[in-house]
Every structure is written in structure tokens, then in C-alpha cells.
Assembly symmetry: C2
């Protein structure tokens, strides 16, 4: 049996026990995990230092180095995150639906854990702790597979939290890390049918595509956000300005930031110069369609490729559209089905936009930056699903569960 398969067997065994734990037992484990993180801070920082050193030597980009680096504060945040997850209501055991059949059978549809969840993720070591906490709370066993650049941090963290969890009574194998960081071990994890119930990739577009292509285990796609804001003919110009500046600039490197702005031709002459000024002040580079460039002649030209791009940077593609329908069609053609907004005071335009745009999160008169489990009030987030199966939009602990039908009979048989 390979190392990965062995992890799978242990996780599967653990998952059957995890599924029957009380909320109290899970919360106690989360609290012990939080304490253990604080208590072992020095050890965590030491492991992290090894990754930082290796990252410096291999010339990791400063953005990646920033994500990798742990501090007292970040370690405190991880522990705090676990306590917040402990405070969330337990989704397991909820009776989602139920009814009685004419023959007297009583059917209950009950929320239960998924079983074994695999998380494949990139640089940030805090994902190790966050994901483990959400899986514990939702009664799942978890197999974590981080990137090689964070392997020492992840190893120390997993060691600490899994010991704390098991020490408080959780089954052995409930939290495990894939310590191999080669491609083959990742592929093996993606094909661990029968042991892993669902895989969630968290990271860039490349990682997500690989997991979707290679995996025979069910996958929840997350994250890639080519988000649009459409300024309608009926837009309030001040709201529009405030929203586009926020959607583009408040934090440009994340998936819910705006990447393309669409402007109705009726307001383009009025709106574009003002938007260009406000965005320009904040260092945003604009790339426009032909009609945009007639109004803003000094900006760069956008190519067909730009409409597909998730810049994750202070760059914005801009297109003037003749109608609302063209805006909707642009979004449905080039978008990644994440988050889109219309700015308008026109009731019918707003209604058409939300009904016809085929994305997970569709806004009227608000910034797309709100697409986030914490912002939505879900308490925590394991990722943002851009697929339609199982979950769509921000996912929290409820999305880490499935349901089971329980049927209560008195000897009924089928005739």
C-alpha cells in the first residue's frame, strides 16, 4: 500500500467515528487545537523560518514570501479562527426535510458529514489550520496537501493540531498532511476514489484546472474570479463611481475584485472620464475597447484576450456596450461565473440582469468585493464555488456536509 493510500485508509476509518461525535466533543477539540497553536508558537515560527530560508534561496517572489511568512499576529489569528469556528452552530444532524408516505413510512432527510475531504492548496500555511478546523466542526476527516514551499510550516502545524485533536478524544487520522510534495503524490490523492469523498482545490487557476482534469474523485471548483461591473444607462453616477473604485482598488489581488467594467453607451461620455480620473488617481491602468478609446484616447487598447483575464492587479479592461443585453452576453461569454454587479436605478434593467447573468453572485448597486463567507455572515469560508454542482458561491461548514435519507418503518414491503 502506498503512503497516500495509507492516509486514505486511516482517514476513512477516522471519518466513520467523526460522523458520530457530539458538537461538544468537536468544539472541545477545536479549543484544544487553538491552545496548542498558541502554546507551540516558537516551534511554528522555527518551522516557518526554514520555509522562508528555502524560499529566499530559491528566489520566491515577494508576494509569495509575504503569504508564506508567519508572525505572532498571524499565529494568533489562526488560533482565534479555530475558536470562532467552535462558536458556529453545528450543521450535522439538522433535519433538512421530512414527510410521511401514504403507507406509513416516515422519511427524514438528515444532514451528515461528507466523510473524507481532501484540500489541495498553495503557499499560505494558515489554510492548513483553517481547513482542518472547518472539517473538524463539520464532522469530516481531512487530508491536507499544501505546496512544497510551505512544507515545514505545514508539517509543524499539522503535527500540533492533530495531536491536540486526538488528545481531546478525536479519532487517530482525523487530520493528516501529505508530506510528499511531488506531483505524483498529488495525482494519487486525486484518484483516491473510495477513500476521499470530495476534493477542494484552493489556489490559482493552474492548480484548479489540474485538479479538475486529473481527479476521479468529485471536485468542488473554487475561486477564479473574472468579475464584472456594468454601469447601466439608468445608473446613479455617484454610486457607480464609488462602486467601481471599491471593486477594483480596495484589494485588487483577490478573486472578487472587478476585472472588466462595462459601460452603457448612453452614459459612457459622462461616466468614463470621471471613472478614469478616480481610478487613475489610485494607479489603475485602463485597457479599453475602440469606443472607450474614442472617449479616453490615452489609454491602452484591450485585446480579445483581455476580456478573459483575471488580472489580480491594478489593471482594468473597459468596454462600451450598446445595450443591457450586450453587457449580459459579454459576461456570460467571457466571465468565470463568480461575481458580477449592475449599477442602475432602473427596476426592469436590474431584474433582467440578475435573472439572465449566469454567475454565482449577482449584485445590484453594490461592490462585488462582498462575495465572501464572512461578509455574507456565514461565519467562515472554505472557498468560493464557481461550479453549479453541490454549492455555488461562498462555502462554509454547511457545504462540507451531505444528507442521508433515514426511513422509519413498521414492516412495510413494496407491492
Amino acid at each position: 500500500m502506498s503512503l497516500i493510500e495509507d492516509l486514505g485508509v486511516r482517514a476513512k476509518e477516522a471519518s466513520l467515528k467523526m460522523a458520530t461525535l457530539t458538537s461538544q466533543a468537536k468544539n472541545r477539540a477545536l479549543e484544544e487545537m487553538a491552545q496548542a497553536i498558541i502554546f507551540n508558537k516558537e516551534e511554528i515560527l522555527k518551522g516557518n523560518q526554514e520555509d522562508i530560508k528555502a524560499g529566499n534561496e530559491s528566489g520566491l517572489s515577494s508576494a509569495l514570501m509575504d503569504r508564506l511568512k508567519l508572525s505572532d499576529e498571524r499565529i494568533g489569528d489562526m488560533a482565534q479562527g479555530l475558536l470562532e469556528v467552535a462558536a458556529l452552530p453545528d450543521p450535522v444532524g439538522e433535519i433538512v426535510d421530512g414527510w410521511r408516505l401514504p403507507n406509513g413510512l416516515e422519511i427524514q432527510k438528515v444532514r451528515v458529514p461528507m466523510g473524507v475531504i481532501g484540500i489541495i492548496y498553495e503557499a499560505r500555511p494558515n489554510v492548513t489550520v483553517d481547513a482542518a478546523g472547518l472539517c473538524v466542526k463539520s464532522g469530516n476527516a481531512v487530508i491536507l496537501r499544501g505546496s512544497s514551499s510551505a512544507i515545514n510550516s505545514n508539517r509543524v502545524l499539522t503535527d500540533i493540531i492533530s495531536k491536540a485533536a486526538e488528545g481531546s478524544g478525536l479519532p487517530a487520522g482525523c487530520i493528516q498532511l501529505v508530506t510528499l510534495t511531488d506531483r505524483e503524490s498529488a495525482k494519487e490523492l486525486m484518484r483516491l476514489r473510495g477513500y476521499v469523498d470530495v476534493l477542494i482545490p484552493r489556489g490559482g487557476a493552474g492548480l484548479i484546472r489540474t485538479v479538475v482534469e486529473e481527479s476521479t474523485v468529485a471536485v468542488i471548483e473554487t475561486g477564479v474570479g473574472n468579475c464584472h461591473t456594468y454601469i447601466d444607462a439608468g445608473a446613479d453616477m455617484l454610486k457607480a463611481l464609488k462602486i467601481v473604485v471599491n471593486a477594483k482598488c480596495q484589494r485588487p489581488g483577490v478573486c472578487n475584485a472587478m476585472e472588466t467594467m462595462l459601460v452603457h453607451e448612453a452614459v459612457a461620455e459622462e461616466f468614463l472620464p470621471r471613472a478614469a480620473e478616480a481610478l487613475g488617481e489610485r494607479g489603475v491602468l485602463l485597457k479599453g475597447c475602440e469606443r472607450t478609446m474614442r472617449i479616453l484616447p490615452d489609454i491602452e487598447a484591450a485585446t480579445e484576450e483581455d476580456w478573459y483575464k483575471e488580472y489580480l492587479d491594478l489593471i482594468l479592461a473597459v468596454r462600451v456596450v450598446p445595450t443591457l443585453e450586450d453587457a449580459i452576453s459579454h459576461i456570460n461569454t467571457y466571465g468565470s461565473k463568480h461575481s458580477e454587479a449592475i449599477v442602475t436605478e432602473d427596476y426592469s434593467a436590474a431584474r433582467r440582469f440578475v435573472n439572465q447573468v449566469d454567475s454565482a453572485d449577482v449584485y445590484i448597486n453594490a461592490s462585488t468585493r462582498f462575495t465572501d463567507g464572512n461578509q455574507y455572515g456565514l461565519g467562515a469560508e472554505i472557498g468560493i464555488s464557481t461550479q453549479k454542482l453541490h454549492a455555488r458561491g461562498p462555502m462554509s461548514i454547511r457545504e462540507l456536509t451531505t444528507t442521508k435519507f433515514i426511513i422509519y418503518g413498521d414492516g412495510q414491503v413494496r407491492s
Copy 2:
């Protein structure tokens, strides 16, 4: 562009229009489809005759020939099925959840169609009409891919129902058939990401495995049923006899029939001879473990392989288990996570069984044969999911939908 990709493009276009249809428009289309089937009965029978002839020539098994063969009655049933689907409540537009955030944003989670659904299925031509009807009702475009043995029947049926649907105002491309029946075209359909939102394979274990392995589109696994009935120490013997006879014999060739019977050692001496007699009278061949054979010395020995088998026939594997836990562990090890039953009057045993058995449908004192969308009162069934993602157990039109977050704002931005 290949033929399959072309189907995908047309389906995607159609799906955006399907999503905004009223229930009235969809029900009218379903009624027109039903009428068209009755009106074109002769043409359908003629197409079916060609498949029957080809099947005879290629030596198709009599079981397959029976599934393939259409009659006046079966054609009437198809039309009736469409009318029953029209009578179901429309799942699209349901507000599943909703709340207001502290900043005034109002969030609605609304039920919307999946988009494009691909169905890959075997012999039965009625699946063509059933699946198309369920997809229309749930506002989806559908791409159907039946087997080569039914290609003429499927072609005539799709032609008739798609014309009727489009004639009543549904968009072109809402119901399409893959007319190529080679393996390559099926594989291409399984990799049509961006056009197909979910694939549902309906058929034998081999077909389902292929789709899961090859597909890069999200898949809902259906159907394989290695179902168990466990006779507990606390079982009522009469209920137990009635239930096992029903679960095994009422229709042995279907996924919710019992394949293995587990018997607690405390009641094995009393129960097994009576069960063997009742099952034997109905022609059931028993294959037993060592302990079973000590009580029933004349039956065949079961091998390790038998515990995994979905016989779909009048064959039953039998095992004596020392404890309830052993029964649960046997089911979780060898089962296919479909339907399992415990027969007991013991409250705690029943509770442990339903909580610890990791299957889609778990029964107390009833036959597993009830696992079915119609039996559950869901009105119709597209399949029975044995996976945990998205849907688990019998799936109806609601399971052909997803949700979308709609967020109503007044200019909110994130700080």
C-alpha cells in the same frame, strides 16, 4: 468545430433562454411533447422496429431486447410521464434562503436551473423522453447520448419531442441527441467543459465507471446498488421474513434489491432455516459464509468476491455476524452506499445502525425496494445518486437545479 462541440454551443445558448421561461411556458411545451408522441406513434414504432431488427441480427440478449422494445402501451406511458412532470411544482425561482446584512445588503439564495445537462444512458428508449421532460421542467437544456442499440428509436423520439418543444416556443437546441454512437463522441461529450454543467450516467456499473474516470465535466454517479438487510438480535422474525423476501424477490434486477443478508448470531439458528425456505420457494440461490453453512449445509459457499457483488438476480449472499457493529462494518466495507435496512425492535440498535451506516438511504423495519423517486413521493426520478456531492439518494427535478446568490444594495462598498 466538431459535431459534439456544436451541440454544446447550441445547448448553452438555449440554456440561457430556458432559465428565464415561465412555468406556464414549460408546462405547455411538455403537453405538446406528450401529444406529439401519441400523434406520431406509428413513426416511433417504425424506428423502434429497425433497432429490434438490428438487435436480433447482432444477437442482443433477451433482457436487453425486452428493454429496447416499444409497444403502444409503453409509448402511452412515455406521454403520460410527460404530463405528470408538467403537473409537478416548478422548482425554479424558489427562494431557498435569505437575510439582511448589518450594512443593509439583502441576500437572496434563489433556485435556478443547472444550465446544460448531459445524460449518458443505455438501451431503454423511454429514458430519452423521461430525461428530456425532467430537464425541460427544471429549465435546463439537455444533450442526450443513448446507446447504439437504440439509436433509431432515440432519433425518432428526439426529433418528435424537440420539434414539439420548439413549436411551443422553447429555444432551438433545448433538446438534442448525440447521433454519433462511437466511443470517441461519448468521450468528447465528457470533456465538454464550459458547455455542459453536469453529466448524469444512467446504466450499468461499467458505464458509470467510465464516465467518472473520463469526464472532466462534473458528474453525478447513480445507481449501483449492493444493498444489505441486517436481521438484528432484536428482530421480529415475521417482519424480517416478509422484508427479506420482498427486498430480494419483488424485482431482483433493480438497484434497490437486496444482494446480501446479514444475520445476528443470536437469531441465526431460528431465522436462517425459515428464510432459506421462504426464499427457496421463490427460486433464490443462497451463498453463505462458513457459519451460515453450518446451519444451512446444502447451500453454496460465498467467497470474498460475493460480498462486493450486485447480482441483479435471484442470488443472495448470506453472512452471520457476531454483533451489530460487525454488520455495520461489513456494510461500510463492501456496500455501494445505496440502500440498507435493519430489522429490529431494539431502539438503541436501530439508532446506532442509521447513524453509523454510511449510505444514501437507511431503513428501519422496511424493504430497501422503496428507494425510488416515485415511491418517496418526489413525483419523478432522474436517477439515484450514490455519491455525496450535490444530491444523495433518489433525485428529481429539484436535484437538476442549483442556486444563485442575488444581492440587493444601495451603493454599498467594502471597507
